[in-house]
């Protein structure tokens, strides 16, 4: 019973900032008050009409779209290789593939900045996309790997023994069976890339910056609830994605096993 109360209190601590942001986003005045004195959508209007946010939103879509389109096939192939490739030192390969997760954002950001400057790529989005591919790859590999592990090779052997060509087996048996893992990988990659901030801060400028970087600049310079409105949109989108993922994939399997 006591444990239940403690857990509830801790979950409240985790959720509290989220609730406050959403409440503040409907605040009618620029000076924050809680509870709000009324309801207003003016900050949401502000988000949609602020030119720098519009530009950053386009950049976010381009960078995330490109990074996910690259990371998904690359990570899927790597997960297949890890499970099926009979690699020597498989654990070492796995650790290597997951390693971008543990590199400090400032170090990676500064490194990409120096590399981009040396290659003369500071004005383009290509370095941003390359960095995002590396940063979401660990999530893709991990999510797909779980699915590959649960895939019974007997099903593929059955298809092959019935005369299907290897490429046919891959397209008609392997890929469909990997669908839950691929779906999870897609969700994680999109969410992680859309929210990436530290590395992107170093390698983007006013023209190429993505939404979290534009939000950071706004928070540093202004105090009105416009950011609360934009944050609320982010939070609601993330909750829906995580809830959907849990509904269709049973996230406990992805995160609590091995």
């Amino acid at each position: 019973m006591i444990l239940r109360l403690v857990v509830a209190a801790l979950l409240l601590f985790i959720t509290l900032p989220t609730v406050v942001v959403i409440a503040v986003s409907f605040n009618p005045t620029a000076i924050l008050s809680f509870p709000p004195s009324g309801l207003s959508l003016r900050w949401y209007e502000n988000v949609l009409t602020y030119p720098q946010f519009q530009r950053a939103a386009v950049n976010s879509l381009v960078v995330t779209g490109a990074a996910v389109a690259l990371a998904l096939p690359v990570g899927t192939l790597a997960a297949l290789a890890l499970e099926r490739g009979r690699l020597r030192g498989r654990n070492a390969w796995a650790v290597l593939l997951l390693s971008p997760l543990v590199v400090p954002g400032v170090a990676a950001g500064l490194g990409f900045l120096i590399l981009a400057a040396a290659l003369g790529l500071l004005r383009s989005r290509s370095v941003l996309i390359a960095a995002h591919v590396a940063l979401v790859l660990p999530f893709v590999v991990r999510a797909v790997w779980v699915s590959v592990r649960n895939l019974d090779p007997a099903l593929e052997r059955a298809a092959a023994s019935l005369g299907a060509a290897p490429s046919h087996v891959f397209r008609r048996v392997t890929l469909p069976l990997l669908k839950p893992g691929l779906f999870a990988a897609l969700l994680f990659a999109v969410v992680v890339s859309l929210n990436e901030f530290v590395v992107s801060l170093f390698i983007s400028n006013r023209v190429t910056e993505i939404l979290p970087v534009a939000m950071f600049t706004y928070v540093v310079n202004y105090t009105d609830p416009t950011i609360a409105a934009l944050s609320s949109l982010f939070i609601v989108a993330t909750f829906v994605v995580v809830w959907l993922a849990d509904r269709y994939l049973d996230l406990a399997r992805v995160f609590l096993q091995h």
């Binding site: 857990v7 601590f13 096939p73 170090a107 490194g111 960095a131 939000m215 950071f216 995160f255 096993q257």
Partner: protein, 253 residues
């Protein structure tokens, strides 16, 4: 089924991605040994002067503060995450497990900026009037850091706890141990691998924390990453100038 050799080759594209990442880290590492030439955009020869400069008193103080804050964060996160992880790993109800998991994962996937901005609102006196100042103090940064680390710690601890066979706990109980004793003598020692790996990951992550101290510290609380960013902003200007310089030089020739 594909041949084993083809499957091995499937690792190649990922290795290319990792190579780009390694190249970025490598160029950072190389830069740390290059001589800084004041008043010039070019770097000089190899030197250890940069590494010596890090040992200046103002940087040492930042490093000390960062280590202390990270250690405190790790300890508090462990204590706060353990009960949630225990509930997550042991609840028999799928609904409760899903609720805890979604509430834990949503902040994990909500970006650093959104979460830190949320804490600016909570720690500033808009929602709750705090008896002591919270925003722009080490206390406030600590709260933000613990909140930031909790989802990761909960997931790692829950994974470790779900590996423990409940048979051991039942055996201890049937031999007459009280629930508290079962926890201290059986559950806690068996979850040690999770505690160690979770603690290490959170400590290492917090050492390089950037947005939380930057926004919640308001320039008064500086951790290593904030100093790096301040210096990096200078490097950015230099790099941009260097790029422009190379462009114009290329046109001229």
């Amino acid at each position: 089924m594909l041949a084993t050799r083809d499957v091995k080759l499937a690792l190649l594209p990922a290795l290319v991605v990792l190579a780009v990442f390694a190249a970025a880290l490598g160029s950072l590492f190389r830069w740390s040994f290059l001589e800084f030439v004041p008043g010039s955009l070019q770097t000089g020869g190899l030197t250890l002067a940069n590494l010596r400069a890090v040992l200046a008193p103002q940087y040492l103080a930042t490093i000390r503060d960062t280590v202390v804050l990270s250690a405190l964060t790790t300890l508090l996160t462990l204590v706060a995450a353990y009960p949630v992880a225990y509930a997550l790993a042991r609840t028999p109800s799928r609904r409760v497990r899903s609720t805890i998991l979604v509430l834990t994962l949503a902040p994990f996937f909500t970006g650093a900026i959104v979460r830190t901005y949320a804490w600016i609102l909570v720690l500033g006196n808009t929602v709750i009037t705090w008896p002591v100042p919270m925003l722009f103090t080490e206390r406030g940064v600590l709260v933000g850091l613990v909140h930031f680390s909790m989802p990761t710690m909960i997931l790692i601890l829950a994974a470790a706890l779900s590996h423990i066979d409940p048979v051991y706990e039942r055996a201890a109980t049937s031999l007459g141990a009280s629930p508290a004793r079962v926890f201290w003598r059986v559950t806690l020692p068996l979850s040690m691998p999770g505690i160690v790996s979770g603690g290490l990951i959170v400590f290492a992550w917090t050492l390089s924390a950037f947005p939380t101290p930057e926004l919640l510290g308001g320039g008064k609380v500086k951790m290593i990453a904030n100093v790096v960013k301040d210096l990096g902003a200078l490097a950015l200007t230099l790099a941009l100038l260097a790029a422009v310089g190379r462009l114009t030089a290329g046109r001229a020739s």
